[in-house]
């Protein structure tokens, strides 16, 4: 799949993955994303569920709110022109949100068989939405899954407390 990517795509996807790593370092589920219109970033986000105590503060939702705060009513038009780069297949909540916002295209890392809302578990048809977002799926999937694994290993309740906060070396993540 990576072959389809243009240089621009790589840059923005790399930024999404960097945001995911930032989340991982803050003990959040490692997902990050960037919204782009005409080659320009309009907003970004990473998972902030633990920080806020709000289970809906997924990367995509954080970015949408940032864009809304920045552009107000104009953001509705911007969303329709935007490409979302995200390090993991968006969950059902976030995918449904993307179909409702009517974004143009989505480029994402690994598929998410438990919650994935684009193809894995949910889909536009199931949401009674039109299936009109261009999808590029499974990009850099190993790296995406590697971060998730690192997160769940860190959170392992059976791990001794001193081990639980240990940062996974970058070489293992990549």
């Amino acid at each position: 799949m990576s072959e389809e990517l243009q240089e621009d795509d790589r840059i923005f996807l790399e930024q999404a993955f960097t945001l995911a790593e930032e989340a991982l370092n803050q003990d959040e589920v490692p997902v990050g994303c960037v919204f782009v219109v005409d080659g320009q970033e309009i907003g970004r986000g990473r998972n902030r569920v633990n920080e806020t105590g709000d289970p809906t503060r997924h990367a995509e939702m954080v970015a949408v709110t940032e864009i809304w705060n920045k552009y107000g009513e104009e953001s509705n038009n911007l969303f329709k022109k935007s490409v979302l780069y995200v390090s993991l297949e968006p969950c059902i909540m976030c995918s449904s949100a993307m179909y409702q916002l009517g974004i143009r295209k989505m480029v994402y890392g690994a598929e998410n068989p438990r919650f994935g809302g684009v193809r894995s578990v949910g889909s536009a048809e199931k949401y009674r939405e039109e299936n009109n977002i261009e999808i590029v799926a499974g990009v850099w999937a190993e790296r995406s899954v590697g971060m998730l694994k690192a997160f769940y290993e860190k959170q392992n309740p059976f791990a001794p407390p001193e081990k639980r906060k240990t940062k996974t070396p970058k070489s293992e993540i990549k």
């Binding site: 806020t52 105590g53 709000d54 289970p55 809906t56 939702m61 949408v64 709110t65 809304w68 953001s75 509705n76 969303f79 969950c91 059902i92 909540m93 976030c94 995918s95 449904s96 949100a97 409702q100 916002l101 068989p113 438990r114 919650f115 809302g117 578990v121 949910g122 199931k126 949401y127 009674r128 939405e129």
Partner: protein, 383 residues
């Protein structure tokens, strides 16, 4: 904090003995179709008919256990025949291997057995007519199926909190131990649905309280996929909603996220059909000498009920300039677009427009006259 338990028990007694159905309220559980059907599939099986009942014990002792998927079946039928195997050839081999002169191949017969374990008492009653079958009732499901779960105190509870959500204008609330946990109404945020606002408004919790674990959520409009999944993330126990919506996904013909097996948390879903009462009819006063084209032509009678805000919902049209009138029924938040109000009749006089909505049927009265033919369309609200 007061606990619900004692009054609930007293009321339950009262309601079942003295005053049944005191409170008029219909609450429809949106259940897994697998629980709703009264019959279960059957499949064919090989059994051996034994004339001498005394050998049953001997044979059973020498037979292997039934495979996992047939563990719900009792080994011996009412007529004393014994289950051997699903497959005919295997059954013949098993019978030969028994080497018992009383047990002969000619006694093998094909019978029908329930293919799956019954999930409900109704299914069990069906299954046991087919073949003796094991059954472990889930009492909570049985109470939902026979309606006994909806006690008088629960009805009062559901009406009270549903009304609270309605008063918030298409609102959403979460309730724990009969205490309000969090509430929200649609905002202008592009994804500011009532559920998202409610979840976002919950202050960060500490200690053993985790998000909305175990909470009941009351919602006016059936949630869309985004909101339904947000409620999964919020870890609620039950959802009660008042109205079906266009992009709702929980009703019977929808995806039904709450029944999706791959998801790690499930909540129960109920549709609340509130009883009809005076509040269901809102009168819209028509002031004298006012232009039809003005949005203020119709005004809400009660303070605090203002024209719907612009923003997220494009459907909340107030009036338009061509004399078409769009009225919003407050109790259920439905748009009835009424065509061609008879201007001469209304201009210069005091008129009253009454909109009544009952089970999706809209009736509009202007100055007491039915305007049935003038109702152009009724738009279902969206989550």
């Amino acid at each position: 904090m007061l606990t619900e338990e004692p009054p609930q028990k007293i009321r339950k007694l009262n309601s079942s003995i003295e005053t049944p159905n005191l409170v008029k309220l219909e609450v429809i559980p949106i259940l897994d179709p697998k629980l709703k059907c009264s019959e279960i599939p059957t499949t064919s099986f090989q059994a051996i008919q034994l004339e001498n009942k005394r050998v049953i014990g001997q044979i059973i002792g020498r037979l292997k256990e039934l495979p996992e998927e047939f563990q719900h079946l009792k080994r011996v039928g009412k007529d004393g025949s014994v289950l051997i195997s699903e497959n005919k050839n295997d059954s013949e081999q098993i019978v030969l291997d028994l080497g018992n002169p009383v047990v002969q191949l000619k006694n093998l017969k094909t019978i029908l057995v329930p293919a799956i374990k019954p999930l409900t008492r109704r299914q069990f009653d069906f299954a046991k007519q087919v073949w003796p079958t094991g059954f472990h009732p889930n009492h909570e499901i049985e109470r939902i199926l026979d309606g006994s779960w909806l006690t008088e105190s629960l009805k009062v509870y559901i009406i009270k909190w549903s009304q609270y959500a309605i008063d918030l204008k298409n609102g959403c609330i979460s309730v724990q131990n009969d205490v309000l946990l969090s509430s929200g109404s649609p905002s202008t945020h592009p994804l500011g649905h009532a559920v998202m606002e409610m979840v976002g408004n919950l202050p960060k919790r500490t200690g053993s309280d985790y998000l909305g674990t175990g909470a009941d959520v009351f919602l006016v409009n059936e949630p869309c996929a985004m909101c339904s999944m947000a409620l999964v993330h919020f870890r609620i126990k039950r959802l009660f909603y008042v109205r079906s919506s266009k992009n709702g996904i929980l009703k019977d013909d929808g995806w039904q996220l709450h029944l999706e097996p791959s998801i790690n948390h499930h909540y129960e879903v109920y549709k609340v059909n509130l009883p009809e009462n005076e509040d269901d009819i809102r009168e819209l006063s028509v002031p004298t000498n006012n232009s039809l084209s003005s949005p203020s032509w119709l005004s809400w009678p009660s303070p605090g009920s203002s024209p719907p805000p612009s923003g997220r919902s494009q459907r909340s049209t107030w009036t338009d300039s061509s004399g078409y009138v769009s009225v919003k029924h407050q109790a259920v938040f439905i748009n009835a677009i009424v065509k061609k109000v008879d201007v001469p009749t209304l201009a210069g006089i005091d008129g009253v427009v009454t909109v009544t909505i009952n089970e999706g049927t809209v009736s509009v009265k202007i100055n007491g006259h039915f305007m049935r033919d003038e109702v152009l369309k009724v738009e279902e609200s969206a989550c």
